[in-house]
Amino acid sequence: MAAISREEVAHLARLSRLAVTEEELDTFAGQLDTILQAVAQVGEVTAADIPPTSHSVPLTNVLREDVVVPGLTPAEALSGAPDAEEQRFRVPRILDEDVAS
């Protein structure tokens, strides 16, 4: 049985904000199925009582001295932006047209 369907892959692509093509969906569905069947091996391990590790370095609440250090100027911070205006990142339309008008 397949671990993942073409419809599920289409859903994942939407969640991932990837406008994939129909052809890509066919390819990815097969490849992700192969990968998922392989990585599902982790389920063989008895680990109910084992704590999870998210990180190998046990550091918590790393703080710095509360002193001002030089940062980027607005021009530097915006230097790579596809579009900028009045020292701000300019984004495409975020509201529906009838709401915006």
Binding site: I4, E8, V9, L12, A13, R14, L15, S16, R17, L18, A19, V20, E24, T27, F28, Q31, L32, T34, I35, L36, A38, V39, A40, Q41, V42, G43, E44, V45, A47, I50, P51, P52, T53, S54, H55, S56, V57, L59, V62, R64, L72, E76, A77, S79, G80, A81, P82, D83, F89, V91, P92, R93, I94
Partner: protein, 491 residues
């Protein structure tokens, strides 16, 4: 006259410091070499000729003014395109960052500049460091100097190819699942993954933040150790950076080079010698084990029963972290924006931008990670993988109660032909079978050339406990003193 490109970093720094050559001469020699072989090797995505010569002139001026120079002053270095370089293009091998010139230097790049090294340019890599061959670079693969029809490993294949082809004596890589060590193994060069937290991630474009570790690539163990010492150590700008002094890796490499491993106990990971590796790789490995025994090391077999689950655990953890990290490529703050016609919504533009900007392997991993983190699958996939990570860490801890360091082949197979593993993505993942456990544990690992199989290089991996990077350098340098270095055929 001496061919400056064939020298080690130690030799170059010595000649520059002694006034027998200049940093500018050294830099010109390497730029000439790049011009001569890049058409065939394609190690670089960007060569910064002007920046390199300016940095070299600055070193020569400091020397002329009588300033004391550091141990790597005047030595050229190639930097993987995963580190930000102020004003110098940084693409991470992806179309989504094509043309981006970062407004700041990564900490490692700052330290390279402070050490007086000369950055030649940025090296090719699999897109976002996801891959084992550089074939997933959006700018075409690099070629292995040992056989130009074969891969130089990945993701840091550009850095490894550059040093194997004598385009640079030193390079920086980054290792999330083996991306420094596996390219080192298949190009006959040395690649070291430091302890996680031992080298700064500030300015390292994030792939999987709990695993990503920048580190050194070189043609000799001592050169790698000197580069490691120059870039490593605590960085307040990286909150996962370990606030402790690093072990003296340079002294360890010099000690190892004496060829005496008396009193050192090494463990062969039994799970890694039974299956999975090519016979030629195993033959070279076993010869190296004999060599290490002759140097005085005591060698035993150690079982690490959960290592066989490292690859599946990694391919849940790394894609999960990547699906979150790569959400920043939204077409707003930097990089590509596609389809913004004034009518399309932010979400449509974002989806078109990411579709156009990311290659297939990156898309696969983003979707895989999104799946593993989604409600209903989280416990069975990501949650379970994190528990397996704990068990792998416990395997390492138990092993290091018995031995000083672990050894294995670095990678199961020698450099494969370009195109051989791209049809089935999982076949590509197997290249990192032996390197991944170390990333999940967080300890250091190094690949050192140990022999040839059918004329292609084989690497031996030394894995050490967290913050005991010096141990792996000692063992690697000792093996190098016994088996020597390996030179590819002339290009």
């Amino acid at each position: 006259m001496t061919d400056l490109t064939k020298l080690t970093a130690v030799e170059i720094a010595g000649l520059v410091a002694g006034g027998e050559t200049s940093a500018v001469e050294v830099t010109r020699a390497h730029l000439d070499r790049i011009a001569a072989v890049e058409g065939r090797v394609h190690a670089f995505l960007h060569v910064d000729t002007e920046g390199a010569l300016a940095a070299a002139r600055a070193v020569d001026e400091r020397r002329a003014a009588g300033e004391e120079l550091g141990p790597l002053a005047g030595v050229p270095v190639a930097v993987k395109d995963v580190l930000t370089t102020k004003g110098v293009p940084t693409t991470v091998g992806s179309k989504i960052l094509e043309g981006w010139r970062p407004p700041y230097d990564a900490t490692i790049v700052q330290r390279l500049r402070a050490a007086g090294t000369v950055m030649l340019g940025k090296t090719n890599m699999d897109e976002f460091a996801m891959g084992s061959s550089t074939e997933y670079s959006a700018y075409g693969p690099s070629h292995n100097p040992w056989d130009l029809d074969r891969i130089p490993g990945g993701s840091g294949g550009g850095s490894a190819a550059a040093i194997a082809a004598y385009e640079a004596p030193l390079a920086i890589g980054s290792d999330t699942g083996g991306s420094i060590r596996q390219p080192g193994a298949v190009t006959g060069t040395v690649g070291a993954k430091p302890t996680y937290g031992g080298t700064s991630r500030y300015g390292l474009v994030a792939f999987s933040s709990s695993l990503d570790t920048p580190g050194p690539c070189a043609r000799t163990v001592l050169d790698a150790a000197l580069l490691h010492a120059a870039i490593g150590g605590h960085d307040p700008r990286d909150s996962t950076s370990i606030p402790q002094p690093m072990p003296d890796v340079v002294a360890a490499a010099r000690l190892g080079a004496t060829g005496d491993l008396t009193g050192v106990k090494l463990g062969i990971v039994s799970e890694f010698v039974g299956e999975g590796a090519e016979p030629g790789v195993m033959a070279a490995f076993h010869e190296s084990v004999d060599a290490l025994t002759k140097l005085g090391a005591e060698i035993v077999e150690v079982s690490c029963p959960h290592f066989k689950y490292a690859l599946p655990a990694y391919y849940l953890i790394a894609p999960s972290e990547c699906s979150s990290n790569l959400a920043r490529y939204d077409g707003v703050r930097f990089g590509l924006r596609v389809g913004d016609d004034g009518n399309r919504s932010l979400e449509e533009v974002m989806s078109l931008t990411r579709e156009a900007g990311f290659g297939p392997e990156v898309k696969r991993r983003i979707m895989l990670g999104t799946y593993a983190l989604s409600s209903g699958y989280y416990d069975a996939y990501y949650g379970q993988a994190q528990k397996v990570r704990t068990l792998i860490t416990r395997d390492f801890t138990a092993a290091f109660e018995q031995v000083d360091a672990l050894i294995s082949p670095t990678t199961p197979f020698v450099a494969f032909p370009i195109g051989a593993r791209t049809a089935d993505p999982y076949q590509m993942y197997l290249a990192d079978l032996f390197t991944i456990p170390t990333n999940l544990y967080g300890g250091p690992g190094i690949s050192v050339p140990c022999g040839l199989s059918e004329g292609l290089p084989v690497g031996l991996q030394v894995m050490a406990p967290t913050m005991a990077d010096d141990r792996m350098y000692r063992v690697a340098a000792a093996l190098e003193s016994a088996v020597g270095t390996f030179t590819p055929p002339a290009l």
